[in-house]
Symmetry: D2
Subunit: 407 residues, 4 copies
């Protein structure tokens, strides 16, 4: 029914080989380095080694789309062609960083490609593309429903030739990571503007700017997602030059809208990889574990669960691929129905698949001995990331219903 | 991501127009004719009229695959290209017959194309292709788990130049329909054969053969599916000439295997059409029904249900299309994993979608005022048709698990 | 944890014996009489015989509550003590009528006990209690969301010494049954009244009053629930004496409120009986059916489904019993949270239980060979009866949330 | 329908007041002490303070059943009367320890009461009852399906007047806690015994015995459940005196059977408390959070989720109470059907309830700012604790099916 480009197919093969050779064999080592780290948010030596290897193997910045081909060596990939690559990376929760393909940097780099001045690009995009630094996107605030971007309250005021920022953010992914040097901060610069979509501005704020306090790492289901992590941050009279504005004053909402489509799909792709790998663990377990005198594989309920999971993964994958393909053809805005369908279907489905696969592993399935528990957390978290599913269902439901208005 | 052939696209447009012009406007008339019929299993006048119109419009025998193109006027359609057509027909539960595309005749006609002698074809296939007669496939037996075809017990013994049949069948779709003239009967001719897959034979039995008693129509969830229906039948010393054997003695199992793949997919395709139509009813209802001072469309739970249903239909459709495409490339046997995935996922998903859509219609949603309740029954029934889902999950689960044997 | 009164226990034993002796052995006969009936809404001879036997056995009007003990021979039963009796009756969908305990007559009789004048009682309640006539409660209208009783539009106007009724009702249970002689009709007598709960009036309308047209029987999932059934009815200048008002003009809403609590619980109780019987069928099937070389009972997924169903039935039963007990202590109004919890939990749970049990029976599970399919329809229908579940969840959700207001 | 004893009611009131005064206000302090602890498995100062207060308040050893009343000051409580107390404690995941009512010590203390010699009791039970020391129950092994206790492989051999233990255990709750001083170890002493239930022996092993290596703390969904935690332990030629045997050689299986009923119910009770508290958080959130211009409380889907969660909590609670009541009357063995029903229904239901409640809190719902995420982990873990649900469903399903054997 569909075929990936030869480029994508070649990269898939190369990436799979890289995972086999360098990633899976290092999962324990990675966990041990992280466990032993004095500062859980410092870069791990093994990550640095692996990044060099990935770069050498030509598996670098695979997320870069065709229209920004100048920023990568591979000529750019469509969303459709990137999807199976992201799926493969998603099999190990920390591996996307190895290929400079992790959230939120991919989305942030696209923002820089699309909206930044040459000076801003040189200062931040260039080292980001090299993987030398990392970035955060500071949008969500604890006190308001941030899935509606117009609710954002952090104040951005121009004083002289500076922007002054005051407010509180949380769930700022990557903010505590030592490699992270730059925050893209969304705030409200013109709260009285009659057009609710012109009240927002985004500015670039170097992480070491005075007035920034990183309050704490946040956990989800017990995971801190170190070293990238999610931070709560206070901005107290943080001052940056006016030149640090992105795109222009009052255009923050526009940037926010433009940023999100691919990011949501990348989460879905990676989650499918984690579900697929969980299913593979479950199959191996079914072959090897004997209970009550029979291997698990002979228990009808195990077979039904495997069967369901296989089918669901296939459906989730197809939904994502079709969505990507439509985005490639028509753009993200025109594909927002399918993006919402993916965003609200895939993480929940993956959560349930992994739940089943963990259950077949007994108590051990919940531990760090398998990647399933952490992937479960990733799936659960994605039901909130970029807004609770319910908000997207609200919009998608309305959109579908409206198609039949007047009938 | 995928595109239907120009032929398929043209037929889709024509078929949609035909549905708009001839089918939807006649749903009430059809129901009234059936309701008023003295014999619910007699052909309805309106069906005959519509068949003539469909034939005239070139919307006839659309199910015929490319390799049997000689049996149709349109040159044959791949499974993939037929899928959207079956979906459109599935929007009205009785409409496939209008286009000579209803079960079990499509499957039976394929059996005749594949396995019958020229004489058998002339006698039965020719009028079937014209829609002049209908057929049944007599496989399932009440006393054994018939999803394992080797369990079949109806006895077929050769005596002189005749086959003698004794046994009981049920859920024999179409058997009571007055148009039905021929039964393909699966039975056991060599119960002692060491090869369990050589014990079965299929023979052609004209419906009016002495010894056949149609005991009763069976209902599912209160529906008799008239005029096609499902019958219980006793075969009491039923005798047919030896020439009536299909393919050869001991080859019944082989035929049964060859028959089932496309049939299961056709059910799935049609069910997706019924789900899609139910969703459309739900959207219209959401726009037009006011409860507690707000249209249903403004209730968040309604939007979530619409959103979920939209997403699930999309996923089910993609699963079916990919399966069809693989069948086209590699054949049904090589695609049995995906066929099983479709067979066990789509009907259940559709049942749940229709359940939601009915619920938005209040008590009326359960009545004959909408096609949803009958489509619900169709979906529920498909979880048993061609074997309970659990049997297919058993096989699919095993197949997936076996892929990881030794790891 | 709880114990039924000795009276209830004795009645349970007697009722169980009666079911064993008279009801189960007559299920086929009942179905055959109904099937053969020229008029599906005429009383069946077998029902009449069974009613006499039940009356003779002292199993009559078991629904009558203690406060109306004068209307029965058994001294009245609390909701709690009646629950297990209704559960036993619920095992056969038509059996409650045998004991004069079927909906909607039980609810209607309570209305007569509570709100009718002595003259009204003599004319209608007396023969209803004897089972000589049946009754309907005409509330639901097709064009408005009738779960909000203030939406009711049927017009009731006083002209001289008569009430004149104009409007359309549907889902009027029992209306087509030949034994039914009296309708309690809810309508709007004072649409301009500022108090939305004073606009309604209920009047008694003999079924044979001029101007009443019974349009059609309605089906749900293919079932017409004959002979009791559900009708669509038009009232066209229907005239009854002013004395036919119930309780008083403008008090219709009050009656409607007072009527519904126990009725909803009776549905739940009976459904639990049908789920319990379905589970018993499933257990027997699991013992007796062999598939792929093992009895179903040895398939782990069958055991899991049996286990889940057992647990869910137990939970549903306990929820109903606790609700009944609270109603006995504090009245229906004060127990509306638990009534809503039961109404929105039990039918859906029962639908799912029966779905599983049907599935274990293969295609036969969907037919009339078992009582499961019809019970499935009853459960599905109860998710709409007395208002869609969603309406009750709206109220219950609000009630629970409000308990934490200000915190 | 049911009433708790006056003693239980008084304790419920006192316990609720204690929670209000001492536990909820200290949740942050507890988390901070644990967070700041150098050794996460050392006792926390705040716990010690709270234990003293609970003891002073007479809220101590509430789990002790009536038949062992001599071991407590309150005269003993039935399972039924203890259930609401455990529910209250379950509202804060670490609070049961405050009242000396945490797993696994409660179960272990019961083992000492039932099976230990006076010397063993004096040495271990006495300080356990005082809360001075803690204990572990070492049963589960990583390499075998330990839910079938006959699979246990740790070797226990008598050499001279010593038992010698060799093997590996994991998920040994409490083993790393510094207060823990004694392990009850289940192993195989007579692997060739024809009676599979006589092969096991349990011995008391002081934690500081030579040869014991605590390998690592295990996490579930990212939680280490410190300071109590779950350990992996190697026993390498661990030697204890023969007098350390519990009950007698070959009686280990018997002890294991006797231990488990109440423990499973205690988990269920506590989980209901955590679900109830999550629901209360959700209600408060619904009142206070505004999204898209309306408080969450006005969103119909929020109300439906609250309604469902309320109903499910009520059903789970009733199932647990009935099970407890039956255990009180007939013993755990005779109530194993209901224990299995509770064990396999309640944790899953609670997991789903908490999942919904977390979702209403946005991303924050997954963090440590609320107790929900950790309670979610507790519920998920209980689907494995004391054996995967599927094992219990296997047994319960069989038990129910067998009741209909021969029908």
């Amino acid at each position: 029914m569909y075929q990936f480009s030869e480029k994508s197919q070649a990269l898939q093969a190369k990436l799979t080989a890289f995972m086999d050779e360098h990633i899976y064999p290092n999962e324990i080592a990675y966990a041990e380095q992280l466990h032993a780290a004095e500062n859980r948010f410092a870069p791990l030596p093994i990550m640095d080694e692996l990044k060099q290897k990935a770069k050498a193997a030509g598996l670098w910045n695979l997320f870069v789309p065709e229209k920004y081909a100048q920023y990568c060596d591979h000529g750019g990939l469509s969303n459709f062609d990137y999807a199976p690559l992201a799926e493969i990376m998603g099999r190990v929760v920390w591996s996307p960083e190895v290929f400079n393909c992790n959230a939120p940097d991919t989305g942030n780099m696209e923002v820089f490609m699309k909206y930044a001045t040459p000076e801003q690009q040189e200062q931040w995009l260039t080292p980001l593309l090299k993987g030398e630094i990392k970035s955060s996107y500071a949008m969500t605030e604890p006190q308001v429903a941030s899935s509606d971007a117009t609710n954002i309250e952090l104040s951005i005021k121009q004083e002289g030739d500076e922007w002054v920022l005051n407010g509180r953010k949380w769930f700022i992914t990557g903010a505590m990571y030592e490699l992270t040097k730059i925050f893209i901060v969304m705030g409200k610069s013109d709260p009285e503007n009659e057009n609710r979509h012109k009240q927002q501005t985004q500015v670039l704020v170097p992480k070491d700017t005075a007035g920034i306090s990183i309050i704490r790492p946040l956990t989800t289901l017990g995971y801190d997602d170190a070293p990238i992590g999610h931070a709560e941050i206070v901005f107290d009279n943080v001052r940056v030059p006016v030149a640090n504005v992105l795109l222009g004053e009052g255009r923050g909402f526009e940037i926010a809208q433009g940023r999100l489509g691919p990011g949501r799909m990348h989460h879905c792709m990676r989650l499918i990889g984690s579900a697929q790998r969980s299913l593979e663990f479950a199959c191996k377990r079914a072959n090897n574990r004997v209970t009550f005198g029979r291997p698990l594989s002979k228990h009808q309920s195990v077979r039904e669960d495997i069967s369901k999971s296989f089918s669901e993964i296939e459906m989730a994958r197809l939904l994502v691929l079709k969505t990507c393909s439509l985005m490639d053809q028509n753009g993200a805005q025109a594909s927002k129905d399918m993006i919402a369908a993916s965003k609200t279907s895939v993480p929940l489905m993956v959560q349930n698949i992994i739940d089943r696969c963990m259950q077949m592993h007994g108590a051990g399935g919940l531990t760090e001995d398998y990647p399933m528990a952490e992937a479960f957390n990733y799936a659960r978290w994605c039901r909130q990331a970029d807004g609770p599913d319910q908000v997207h269902q609200m919009a998608l439901g309305k959109q579908i219903i409206d198609r039949y208005a007047g009938e």
